[in-house]
Assembly symmetry: C2
Homo-oligomer: 393 residues x 2
């Protein structure tokens, strides 16, 4: 008898997970409010309904042996009421889905993180900015992603103006965190998988963001081996502390100077802070589809289906690079300049278009991955290929 | 506006093609008589109806911009009547779908092939066996695959008995080919892709069959470079002669001694004969999903969508091996011994289960691919891993 897996959210992460589940002979049932979501259009047996529609949700989940989510910004109230057997758990989704809860968790567990204070009205915000000090970044606690819902305060003297603007934009009550602005030398991420019996850690990724959105992921990360080991240890410790079942992606900042207020982990002359957690497949992990013997999607599929995990290993020496394809690279009709694919592309490993209905600037529409003799070669190929695919408008 | 591609047949080849089409942002519509076929269960928008139901077929094809087939053993009469814009063409499907037409084509074009004669009743069969001589193999012209519908005549004196048995099994009228039995040193296959503008040839594969079913594919093939070049040239020449649009897989026998009657191509001390043609993705080409920058499925998707082809290249030096997973390796409940996946598998690149409803002996239920420092290493890993996954009944 096949296992039926429910996936809440039918975007690109859900679609890539569905393929991995199918490769292990499972049935997949999507649930998403948008009938045009890629997973709803492509796969059979999906249900279109709101995440807060307890009746529809309950009916859909009853037909599934296990249920997972492709994003942590989901209304957990309905799920908690239904008592669905979710992987990850509702508690994990709630912690990682709220910047405030996530940071409180890191502080409580004494895990390295960026110093912060929280605020729910303008008076608290003033106090929080004073506590953290400038330069700092004000972020929405819920629903912010890809750099949205953020305000920067560069110097003390600008604080009053920015706070006024935020109050004007958000009204009397809100939920914000104020974070110390740290000088990044590098960004890393690490994915851990746990199934209740065993736990495995993926190789460390190096990330480059542009305007708050992931632009490139390189594997292996160009760091001292001691830094890689420390980051992977911290990621595993974090996943254990949260008691994650499924995946946990941990994003790190690498600082060359110790931060003023943030409790960081110092190793090999640099300082590590956790930036964010995501209890699901992560954009930076797409590179594992081509670079490791078991991808992040395969690994989550194994957790969901009760297939034993195995330590993911690089399929061979060399370097890989994943480049995101954002909406602005696509033509008005939502198409890429695929004529460029006619030239042999040095090191191309995969090109994946997500099938989103419209190309909006900043929207993740697809990705490509390349392999090279080393990470620099792979990155050069990825950029060259991506530029060649970009529509000139 | 997205391109909609119809796929006639919803088995594993159709499913892997669907994923490649989705990766290029196309819509996919399956058509298959079996509602339990993997592509019907997994993907949205499929239609369950008979291949000879002209009304349903016509309705389904009207909604598609382009249509392809996942097997050549299809009733082409209905397709021809409807005049569907098929890739490959109905003519190509008919030639490759009939052993008699295929061999007549090879003979007419003076392409190297195994000597044969055809027969439609017992008298013709006696004459054909006398013409080809023993040892020979009698094969059904239509519908035979994976070694089914074959009879061997080892020595002249056994001919009468075997011919009697065939007449008893098939009745008065039938369509058979009698082929010279050649001593194989090796089996090769080569996939060509053509889109009307350009044509590309995949690296040569080396195949091992067990009981008439493909067991292993190795890449690169262990042959003299002159043999590889000759085989790829012959494959391209064959695709041009057939005027294939889409894919053509050409299977070769490699003989150490020149055959008695078959017109072979001699190169570097060996003799090449074409065994079979398939105008679609081929089981031996599954290895391209992990070994080449553009897979056979990606390449066919490009042809169907009008995306330019690119010469497929190995993603890095080394060797690959694809191992088929047949029904007899699965438990009574249709499951594999996936607990074996808990051990780190040296060189695993992918494991794909096709999701067929029941595990029958000899049925292709899935495959796995491995990478190694060379082909021998990859093959050893593939066999080890496959044995570990096999259920002991």
């Amino acid at each position: 008898v096949k296992t039926t897996v429910g996936i809440l959210g039918a975007g690109q992460l859900g679609c890539m997970l569905a393929s991995a589940l199918h490769d292990l002979d499972a049935e997949v049932r999507f649930y998403d409010p948008d009938p045009r979501a890629p997973g709803m259009r492509r796969f059979a047996g999906g249900r279109v309904a709101s995440f807060s529609d307890e009746g529809a949700l309950s009916e859909h989940l009853r037909a599934c042996d296990v249920v997972t989510v492709e994003m942590e910004h989901v209304d957990t109230a309905a799920l908690r009421k239904i008592g669905a057997r979710l992987v990850p758990s509702v508690d994990v989704i709630e912690t990682a889905g709220s910047r405030r809860k996530e940071k409180a968790f890191l502080r409580a567990r004494q895990l390295p993180h960026v110093a912060f204070a929280t605020a729910h009205d303008v008076a608290e915000l003033r106090a929080a900015v004073a506590e953290v000090g400038a330069p700092c970044i004000v972020k929405t606690s819920l629903g912010g992603y890809d750099g949205r819902g953020q305000w920067r305060i560069e110097v003390e003297s600008a604080a009053a103006t920015v706070i006024g603007a935020i109050g004007h934009a958000l009204g009397e009550r809100f939920s914000l965190t104020v974070e110390e602005r740290v000088d990044l030398a590098q960004e890393l991420s690490c994915i851990v998988a746990r199934d209740g019996t065993s736990e495995v850690v993926f190789p460390l990724f190096e990330n480059v963001h542009e305007a708050g959105v992931l632009d490139l992921t390189m594997l292996p990360a160009r760091v001292d081996p001691r830094v890689a080991e420390a980051a992977r240890d911290i990621a595993l410790e974090t996943a254990r502390a949260l008691d994650v079942k499924g995946l946990l992606a941990v994003e790190f900042f690498v600082l060359e100077r110790p931060p003023a207020r943030s409790p960081s982990h110092s190793v090999a002359g640099v300082h590590l802070c956790i930036n964010e957690l995501a209890p699901r497949p992560h954009n930076s992990g797409h590179v594992t589809r081509v670079a490791t013997d078991v991808s992040q999607f395969d690994m989550l599929a194994r957790v969901l289906l009760g297939v034993p995990l195995a330590t993911p290993r690089l399929v061979d020496p060399g370097g890989w690079c994943m480049a995101n394809l954002l909406g602005e690279r696509f033509g008005a009709d939502g198409a890429l300049a695929t004529t460029a694919l006619g030239a042999a592309a040095d090191g191309l490993c995969e090109l994946v278009l997500y099938g989103k209905p419209t190309a909006v600037n900043g929207r993740k529409m697809g990705h490509l991955s390349t392999r090279g003799a080393d990470v620099e070669n792979a990155r050069a190929s990825a950029r060259r290929l991506r530029d060649a695919l970009t529509v000139t408008r």
